[in-house]
C-alpha cells in the first residue's frame, strides 16, 4: 500500500462533486469535490506500489487538458493506467454536468 500526493495549478471550476468507479480488484474509486482554490490536490492510495512515475505521467496528461479546481481522492485496487484514465474522465463528465447525477 502506497500513498501518493500531487498538486496542480487550476483555472476551471466545476459545479458539483462526483463519485465514480467501484471497489473491486482491477478497478478504483474516485471522489471529486469542487475546490474554491485555483489548485487541484490529488491523493492516491494504491494497492500496487512502485508506479509513482506512471501516476505522475497520467495525472500530468489529465490536468494539461482539464485543469479543474478540485480535491480528488483515489482509492486504487490494482487498476491499469487505462482504467484510471477512463475513471478520471468519467469523474470529469459527472462533475461538469449541470444535470443531477443519476
Amino acid at each position: 500500500m502506497e500513498t501518493l500526493t500531487f498538486k496542480f495549478n487550476a483555472t476551471k471550476s466545476v459545479p458539483k462533486h462526483a463519485y465514480v468507479g467501484v471497489v473491486a480488484s482491477g478497478d478504483l474509486e474516485i471522489l471529486l469535490e469542487p475546490s474554491k482554490e485555483e489548485k487541484a490536490y490529488v491523493v492516491v492510495r494504491t494497492a500496487s506500489d512502485g508506479f509513482g512515475e506512471t501516476w505522475k505521467n497520467l495525472l500530468d496528461r489529465f490536468f494539461a487538458v482539464h485543469d479543474i479546481a478540485a480535491n480528488i481522492e483515489i482509492n486504487d485496487f490494482g487498476a491499469t493506467p487505462g482504467m484510471v484514465s477512463m475513471r478520471l474522465l468519467q469523474a470529469l463528465e459527472v462533475c461538469s454536468s449541470e444535470k443531477t447525477e443519476r
Binding site: T80, P81, G82, M83, S85, M86
Partner: protein, 553 residues
C-alpha cells in the same frame, strides 16, 4: 518409336505412392478386421503402417483433438518408427511434443501452439523440434495439396459406420481437408471415432476416402475455447465496444464481419441488442458473420440482428441452440451444425467487411503480435482474416469506404481493427517500442519475426482513449502520431502531445469518445444484454448448455 518404347525409355514407375500404400496395408492385414483396427492393437498397427521419415498429419485441431491416436503414436517404438515429419495445425497436447523428445518425430510444420507455447519455444531453441514453417491455417491447408501432402492422416470423428463413412457433426473443423489431401494422393487415412453405428445422422466424409477406423477408449478431447463469461466484462470493455459500434460499424456500414475471441468483442456482441438498438442500427450492421458459435452472440441472434453465421468449428454446449436456429447457422439434414475451418477461413479472408481482434503487443507502426517473451504461440487464423486480401474484387459499402485517394483505379480495403486496452493487467504496456516477437523469433532461429498482423494492413486501432483511423493518415509520421494519440501513457503514447492530438481530431484521423457522442459514464454493465452465463442460458430458452466450468449459479 512406338508408344510402348517411349514408356520403357522413361524407365520410371508412376505408382510409387500407390505401391507403397499397398505394401503397408498388406503388413497389417492380419492385425485388423477389414476397416476396423481393434483398439488394443492400435500401437502395433501404427508401427506397421507408418514408415520412418513419413509425413504424418495428426489432427491437433483447434477445438478437437485426435487424442486417442496421438497417445498411440506416442507409444510406438522409436527404433521401429522415427524421424517423422509432423503436420499439425494445432499443437495442443503434451504428447504432440513428447514424440519429438523420443525421436519418433523430428520435423514439424504447424499453425498454432497456444497451449504448448512455452515448451514449444524451448524445444525449438534446443533443436529438439526442427520447424519447417509456422503457418496461418489457410497456408497450411494449402500446402497439404502442394508440397506437404501427408503419407498418413490421424484424425478424429464422432461416429463411423461399417463402410467407413464418417459423421463429424458440429466439430467437423478441418477433418475433411486433411482427409482429402491424404486420401487422393495415396496416403493412409486412420480415424478414431467415439462410436461405431449402423446408421449415421449424415455423412460428412465418405467412406471411400477412409482406410481404417478405430473406436477410441474415450471420446476425443474437445475444448470450449470461445465461451466468455459476461461477468468478466468490465466497463472499459463496454466503453471500447460503444466506440467501435459508433465509430467503425455505423460509420462504415459494416454488414459482414469476423470477431476474434475476447472480452472486448464479447462486449460488442452483448450491447448490440441494447446500445446498438438505441442507435437504430438493427438490420443495418453486423448481419452476416464468419464466427464460431459464440454464446455471447445469442442475445443478438434472438433479437433479430443476425442473418447468418458460418462457423470454423463448434462450441461445447451450443449444439442444441444451433440446431434450433437453422435459418442462421449452417446445418445438415440431421439438424446439427456443419462447421468447416477451411471454408470459414476463406470466408473470413475474402467475404467479410471487417476483422476485429485483440493482441498483446503493438509497436509504433501498428505491427502486432501475441508472442510474448519465451512463448511461441504460432498464428492460427487471425493473420488470414487480419489482412487485406489483394485478390478481393467484389465491392461493399464498408470496403469502398476505405478509399482515400482520387485515383481512377482506387480499390477498397478490408477493415482490420485492433481493439486493445493500452495496458494489460499487471501494468505491461500493450504499445511497445519493439515487439517481443523479434527476440523470440531470433532465439528460435525463425527466418522472420512472428508478426501476427502487419501494421500496413491495420485500418483502425481502438483503445479506451479513442479510435485511430490509421487508413486516413497521409504519411507514415502522421500514422505513427495517430497511433500514439490513442496509446495512453505508454512510452509510445507519450510521444503525442496534447496539441498534436487536437490537430488529429480536427483532421478526423483520431476520434475520442466525445467526438463519437459516446459518454464515458454511459459505459455501464447494465448495457450488457446478458450479464452472466445464466442470462445466456435464459436468452437461449434453455437450449444453450454451458459446460460445468462455466456454471457458476
Amino acid at each position: 518409336m512406338n508408344e510402348s518404347e517411349l514408356g520403357i525409355s522413361s524407365g520410371r514407375s508412376w505408382t510409387t505412392r500407390r505401391d507403397k500404400k499397398a505394401r503397408q496395408l498388406a503388413k497389417v492385414e492380419k492385425l485388423v478386421k477389414g476397416r476396423i483396427i481393434p483398439a488394443d492393437r492400435i500401437v502395433e498397427v501404427l508401427e506397421n503402417l507408418i514408415v520412418t521419415g513419413d509425413c504424418v498429419a495428426l489432427e491437433g485441431n483447434n477445438q478437437k483433438q485426435a487424442s486417442f491416436l496421438s497417445k498411440a503414436l506416442n507409444n510406438v517404438d522409436p527404433d521401429k518408427v522415427n524421424d517423422l515429419h509432423m503436420i499439425m495445425s494445432s499443437v495442443s497436447r503434451p504428447e504432440h511434443l513428447d514424440i519429438f523428445e523420443k525421436g519418433i518425430a523430428r520435423k514439424l510444420d504447424f499453425s498454432y501452439s497456444g497451449a504448448q507455447s512455452l515448451r514449444m519455444a524451448q524445444m525449438i531453441e534446443d533443436g529438439v523440434v526442427k520447424v519447417g514453417s509456422i503457418h496461418t491455417y489457410l497456408e497450411l491447408y494449402g500446402r497439404l495439396f502442394i508440397d506437404l501432402t501427408p503419407n498418413i492422416a490421424l484424425v478424429a470423428a464422432d461416429k463411423a459406420d461399417a463402410e467407413g463413412n464418417l459423421y463429424t457433426g458440429p466439430n467437423t473443423e478441418e477433418t475433411p481437408t486433411i482427409v482429402e489431401a491424404t486420401a487422393f494422393r495415396d496416403g493412409i487415412v486412420i480415424v478414431q471415432v467415439n462410436e461405431l453405428v449402423d446408421e449415421l445422422p449424415r455423412v460428412d466424409i465418405p467412406g471411400s476416402w477412409v482406410d481404417f477406423i478405430v473406436v477410441a477408449d474415450r471420446p476425443y478431447q474437445l475444448e470450449a475455447l470461445f465461451t466468455r463469461d459476461p461477468r468478466l466484462i468490465s466497463e472499459m470493455h463496454i466503453l471500447m465496444a460503444m466506440m467501435t459500434i459508433r465509430g467503425i460499424y455505423e460509420r462504415h456500414n459494416v454488414t459482414s464481419l469476423n470477431h476474434g475471441v475476447g472480452f472486448n468483442t464479447a462486449a460488442i456482441e452483448l450491447i448490440l441488442p441494447t446500445y446498438g438498438e438505441s442507435l437504430g442500427l438493427k438490420g443495418k450492421i453486423c448481419k452476416n458473420w464468419a464466427l464460431n458459435p459464440h454464446p455471447t452472440l445469442i442475445p443478438a441472434i434472438e433479437s433479430g440482428w443476425v442473418e447468418s453465421v458460418h462457423c470454423f468449428g463448434g462450441e461445447v454446449g451450443m449444439e442444441k441452440y444451433v440446431a434450433a436456429r437453422p435459418d442462421v447457422f449452417f446445418t445438415g439434414r440431421d439438424g446439427s451444425l456443419r462447421s468447416n475451418r477451411a471454408m470459414s477461413q476463406v470466408a473470413g479472408q475474402y467475404a467479410v467487411d471487417l476483422f476485429i481482434g485483440s493482441t498483446f503487443q503493438i509497436d509504433a507502426d501498428g505491427n502486432s503480435s501475441t508472442v510474448t517473451s519465451g512463448r511461441l504461440a504460432g498464428f492460427g487464423g487471425a493473420p488470414n482474416m487480419g489482412a487485406d486480401p489483394h485478390g478481393r474484387r467484389h465491392a461493399t459499402d464498408a470496403w469502398l469506404n476505405m478509399i482515400t485517394g482520387e485515383s481512377q483505379i482506387a480499390r477498397g480495403q478490408k477493415l482490420v481493427v485492433q481493439m486493445v486496452e493500452t495496458y494489460q493487467n499487471g501494468h505491461a504496456p500493450v504499445f511497445v517500442e519493439s515487439l517481443d516477437a523479434i527476440k523470440v523469433g531470433h532465439d528460435a532461429k525463425l527466418p522472420v519475426a512472428p508478426v501476427m498482423i502487419y501494421g500496413d494492413d491495420v485500418t483502425h486501432v481502438v483503445t479506451e482513449e479513442g479510435i485511430a483511423y490509421l487508413y486516413k493518415a497521409r504519411s507514415l509520421e502522421e500514422r505513427r502520431m495517430a497511433l500514439a494519440a490513442v496509446a495512453g501513457v505508454t512510452p509510445i503514447g507519450q510521444q503525442c502531445s496534447v496539441e498534436m492530438t487536437e490537430q488529429l481530431r480536427q483532421d478526423g484521423i483520431v476520434a475520442l469518445p466525445e467526438d463519437l457522442h459516446v459518454k464515458r459514464t454511459d459505459a455501464k454493465r447494465s448495457l450488457l444484454a446478458a450479464k452472466s452465463i445464466d442470462d445466456l442460458v435464459k436468452w437461449s430458452d434453455g437450449l444453450y448448455e454451458p459446460p460445468a466450468k462455466f456454471r457458476n449459479w
